[in-house]
Symmetry: C2
């Protein structure tokens, strides 16, 4: 079925649009039945099954004028794939629920789906089902299913004496978001980091194999996630400022906005870095950024931190 | 954590509300890690895994003044459990994404979750994860995961010569919706059928065991679903009006609204009945309502039907 390139989702119609969307989603070998029936059918061979879900709302989690539809698709997929990464698992199957205003360009939905599929392809995962409906604003609900070959790494396993380590870029997306929020489009490398995060997809399973005791993905902010780890594990965590080499573009943004650039690193999410604890030195690709002790506080250089620590949804 | 009984979700706060919500969801034996980590962890023993997702939007799929929060929770769960039912499977795990306006009463979210959990308990399924965020209107995104012990029953297996059969109430919820739409609250039995559908949860697996060739759940309207079956299977389907005994309350609503009550049955969804095809007589609990022939049309008593056939989302 086809519709004009400039059709809205309402003009395109539910079923023709769904058919076009489906064509964008190649199906992996675990998929016995893909989109189009009452449910998808998967063959899952071994290991533990991990499941996570995320809801992204326009003007809260993304803005259509700050990133292309394809970028937003990449980000939505990355946010969910990262949750499986943080268990030490590998994602294989996702579903997308898309609620869209009637006047949303159908092409936006198609570009979003193409970006989403492209991000999923980075880890070999397939979009196996979805739902499309109308709403006042764009809402994207994603569920991801993955497998862990070894025991999943929870938030609750950190122990005093462990080292705290980080994999992936951290603070870049927050820097990009900060400049977009002021109406700028540069430094371009930070804006791009926000638009298309590059989560360290190989590092979750690598950390699990290396004996990580606890792990979480940094989506709400580094110190906020450290607090989640500390609370779940019943430990204290100290983060060391001098562990981070602040990249030049973050210095530039800090100077332009009158902010200490370490704030982007300590308070930023959106890069979907991984934060984990290890009894010994972490594997290559991980940066030691602090330590785990007994207690319950999250501190920076041994003291309470009074900058922004992350994002809350209400 | 606690908050006043009359708090809004914004006043309650994301994490205290999530904590209270979690307490409403008992975890089944397949759940190794429930809500609260980056992902839930499941142990899935055998069979095919089926996955489906649905998005429900306030004032499109439900109205807060037409049904209680608990009712809406029941309906949201039923809609998704029914998709697994229609594959011949049994649901075991669900995730809920809830986007809510900041001024939504926190109690609404709690009552919704309690109703949702109660419906899931009917089939022994658990809510294993979720996400909570703010939005302009209430959006509920549900993903359900289930298992099929035998091969899943698809939409595409109907063959000429099969009988068409229905399990569960059909048209009751549409009758209830019609009276609610006119501002009435009776007949109460129909309004209740809309508010709390009673999908035939045991009949999906029973149909699969009995050799059903194709199956679908009736959520968009009986004739609309018959068309989905016919198109997926490459067959024609004829539905016989005289197969249905029109229940007294539907007669009453038809008379009050000046509508032929068969319209509620032929065009109604929301009861989450099952529509299936069988090579022979269906098992007990199923009503033969038509037949499968070669061709591609969906007809009623052998002729084109010009009444409403179902629901589209744009």
């Amino acid at each position: 079925m086809s519709f004009p390139a400039d059709a809205t989702v309402s003009e395109a119609g539910e079923f023709p649009l769904i058919e076009r969307l489906r064509d964008l989603f190649p199906q992996g070998e675990q998929v016995l039945v893909g989109p189009g029936d009452d449910a998808a059918v998967l063959r899952i061979r071994q290991g533990h099954v991990v499941v996570s879900t995320d809801v992204l709302v326009e003007n809260r989690h993304f803005r259509r004028d700050w990133a292309s539809a394809a970028d937003i698709g990449h980000r939505a997929a990355a946010a969910n794939l990262s949750d499986v990464n943080a268990m030490g698992g590998r994602a294989h199957s996702l579903t997308i629920g898309l609620a869209a205003p009637r006047d949303l360009p159908a092409q936006w939905a198609l570009d979003f789906a193409a970006g989403f599929a492209e991000e999923c392809a980075l880890v070999g995962a397939s979009v196996v089902g979805g739902d499309l409906t109308s709403a006042e604003e764009v809402v994207v609900a994603v569920t991801v299913i993955g497998s862990c070959l070894q025991s999943p790494v929870l938030r609750s396993g950190a122990r005093p004496g462990d080292v705290l380590a980080l994999a992936g870029r951290q603070g870049w997306a927050a820097g990009g978001l900060a400049v977009l929020g002021r109406g700028f489009r540069s430094p371009r490398i930070l804006v791009e980091a926000y638009r298309r995060p590059e989560p360290p997809y190989d590092e979750g399973a690598a950390a699990a194999e290396a004996g990580a005791t606890a792990m979480i993905d940094v989506s709400d902010g580094l110190l906020a996630e450290a607090r989640h780890l500390a609370e779940a594990s019943g430990v204290a965590i100290d983060v060391r400022r001098d562990a981070f080499e602040i990249p030049e573009p973050l210095h530039a943004v800090g100077a332009a906005l009158g902010a200490d650039p370490i704030q982007f690193i300590l308070g930023g999410g959106d890069d979907h870095a991984l934060l984990a604890t290890f009894p010994d030195a972490p594997p290559a690709g991980w940066l030691v950024i602090g330590s785990v002790t007994s207690g319950s506080a999250v501190t920076v250089d041994g003291a309470a931190y009074d900058g922004p620590t992350g994002w809350t949804h209400f």
